[in-house]
């Protein structure tokens, strides 16, 4: 049996499992506080605002705003060559939550900060589906 080198594999906890389970279905899933209604960052055990511990998973639109972007010339991921475009995506429903994604199709070439993008998830690499910027034709 051979093991292909693969991207680092997330080890979910109760807090982050809804995110990764959503990712496997191609959906952006975060948890919403049932006390005050704010969205919680994936790692949060409680709502950062009201500290309520009832957070329910919710499927979001996948719309995000481009917060930051870099083309990385050191290749940190196995099985890829050439510069890698990393983007910081501020979740449209709550831009305080920023998620990292790859842009492997040049969708953000020439884009400006705050450009609206759509986040999707890649086919499984290892056991995980990772966030990617979708080209316009792939938008749900």
């Amino acid at each position: 049996m051979t093991h292909k080198p693969q991207r680092p594999q997330p080890v979910p906890t109760a807090e982050t499992r809804p995110f990764w389970e959503g990712a496997a279905e191609g959906a952006l899933v975060l948890r919403r506080c049932q006390g005050c209604g704010r969205l919680a960052p994936p790692l949060a055990p409680r709502c950062p605002d009201c500290l309520c511990d009832t957070l329910l998973a919710e499927r979001l639109s996948g719309r995000v705003m481009l917060k930051g972007r870099t083309r990385l010339h050191l290749q940190p991921l196995p099985g890829r060559t050439g510069p890698l475009t990393l983007v910081e995506c501020a979740v449209f429903e709550d831009p305080r939550i920023v998620l990292i994604a790859l842009d492997e199709q040049g969708v953000t070439d020439g884009a400006l900060p705050d450009a609206i993008l759509h986040l999707g998830f890649s086919p499984a690499e290892g056991d995980a589906h990772f966030a990617v910027v979708l080209p316009p034709e792939d938008r749900a």
């Binding site: 080198p5 693969q6 991207r7 680092p8 594999q9 997330p10 080890v11 979910p12 982050t16 994936p42 790692l43 917060k67 930051g68 972007r69 870099t70 083309r71 990385l72 010339h73 050191l74 290749q75 940190p76 991921l77 196995p78 510069p83 890698l84 990393l86 983007v87 910081e88 998620l99 990292i100 994604a101 790859l102 400006l112 900060p113 995980a128 990772f130 966030a131």
Partner: protein
């Protein structure tokens, strides 16, 4: 109760070394003791911040990190109090030492920070395998590699405010020129032309090779005490303020100073664009105004706010802010030699945009 930095010491700074991290740590610690005219047996307090921040670090005690337990053992220290501050900065070390001294817990605190480039490892990139906690949202994307997050932020800043790579070069250029007057700076004899800068390979756009500080083997250490305990022969700088980044106003209220009082500023520059953060963030410049402020020469020697006067990390080498603190001490105590600027409140900021702390040092007899 007034607290001072009574002395500072440095090891040699080397790109690679056959000596281990402990050798650098003890070299710096003994230099600090000598500089402050304090005997080893007088040390009863210790503060460190040993975390190696590079993505490829094995976090090996005595390998690429060194903490209180190892230092105390190797130096024969008998401590009343000591602490290592996890993932924090030299500026936080000063604040913790000040607290211990003001509480009367100890009399002489040694502060030590050592860095080391372990051989045979990829410094900048992490490994594959399982990732836990916050890493699960960053490492599978390479986001912890080569300062990608600072590069992504620099892109947004430059795009919003119209800054260019020429503005980044202005920071690198200033660092190299100021490093020329710092005898131990890694880049002291290496001025960099715009052409050389432009030829440097891209690392994480917009940062090229020369926008990244150079990882080195080295250590620096300070000695702190109450002003009334200052040993004869030591030259003090008063610690007049400190604060965390989320409450910068606390730096000014504690010290009774304001941004206009600053005579020098040492701003953290692990990547060149980071210098803009707190020029804007502390209100020294308008939002987006930092590149023009530097382009207009305001950070030069003798100018409005001489900046990173020993070359910063980009000129001296990667000491994770300890070099910035040392230079602020030397400026505030009048010991900066050829680099000496007007004496007065000397600002140190260490850390990134979303997690920094500040210290203000001032001359004692002014």
């Amino acid at each position: 109760m007034t607290v001072v930095i009574a002395g500072f010491g440095s090891s040699t700074l080397e790109k690679r070394s056959d000596r281990g991290i402990a050798a650098f740590a003890l070299e710096a610690a003994l230099a600090a003791l000598a500089d402050a005219s304090i005997r080893r047996d007088e040390i009863d307090g210790y503060v460190g911040a040993p975390f190696a921040t590079n993505a490829g670090s094995p976090h090996a005690e005595g390998g690429d990190e060194i903490s209180l337990k190892t230092v105390a053992g190797l130096m024969g220290l008998r401590l009343t109090w000591g602490a290592d501050l996890y993932r924090r900065y030299p500026t936080d070390m000063v604040a913790s030492a000040a607290h211990a001294l003001q509480a009367g817990t100890c009399r002489f605190v040694l502060g030590l920070r050592a860095l080391y480039v372990a051989p045979g490892l990829d410094y900048a990139t992490g490994t594959s395998g399982p990732v836990f906690g916050a890493d699960q949202f960053t490492k599978p994307y390479g986001y912890t590699t080569a300062g990608a997050r600072f590069a992504a932020r620099a892109w947004a800043y430059m795009t919003r405010h119209g800054a260019t790579r020429d503005d980044l070069f202005a920071i690198v250029d200033l660092s190299r020129r100021h490093a020329a007057l710092n005898p131990q700076a890694i880049w002291r004899d290496k001025p960099l032309s715009l052409e050389d800068y432009s030829r440097g390979r891209m690392i994480a756009e917009p940062h090229g090779l020369f926008d990244c500080d150079l990882p080195i083997c080295g250590a620096q250490a300070f000695l702190m005490c109450r002003e009334k305990d200052l040993p004869q022969g030591a030259t003090p700088a008063r610690v007049t303020g400190f604060s965390g980044f989320a409450r910068p106003e606390a730096l000014w209220s504690m010290s009774g100073r304001g941004p206009a009082d600053l005579k020098t500023a040492q701003l953290y520059d692990g990547f060149s664009s980071m210098v803009w953060e707190w020029l804007d963030g502390l209100g020294l410049t308008e939002p987006g105004g930092a590149p023009a402020f530097l382009r207009d020469g305001n950070g030069e020697y003798g100018a409005r706010l001489p900046l990173n006067t020993a070359g910063g990390a980009l000129g001296e080498g990667r000491l994770h802010g300890m070099g910035h603190l040392r230079e602020a001490y030397l400026q505030a105590s009048g010991r900066a030699g050829l680099r000496q600027q007007a004496m007065g409140p000397a600002l140190v900021q260490v850390g990134p945009y979303d997690d920094s702390s500040f210290v203000l040092l001032e001359p004692v007899n002014v």
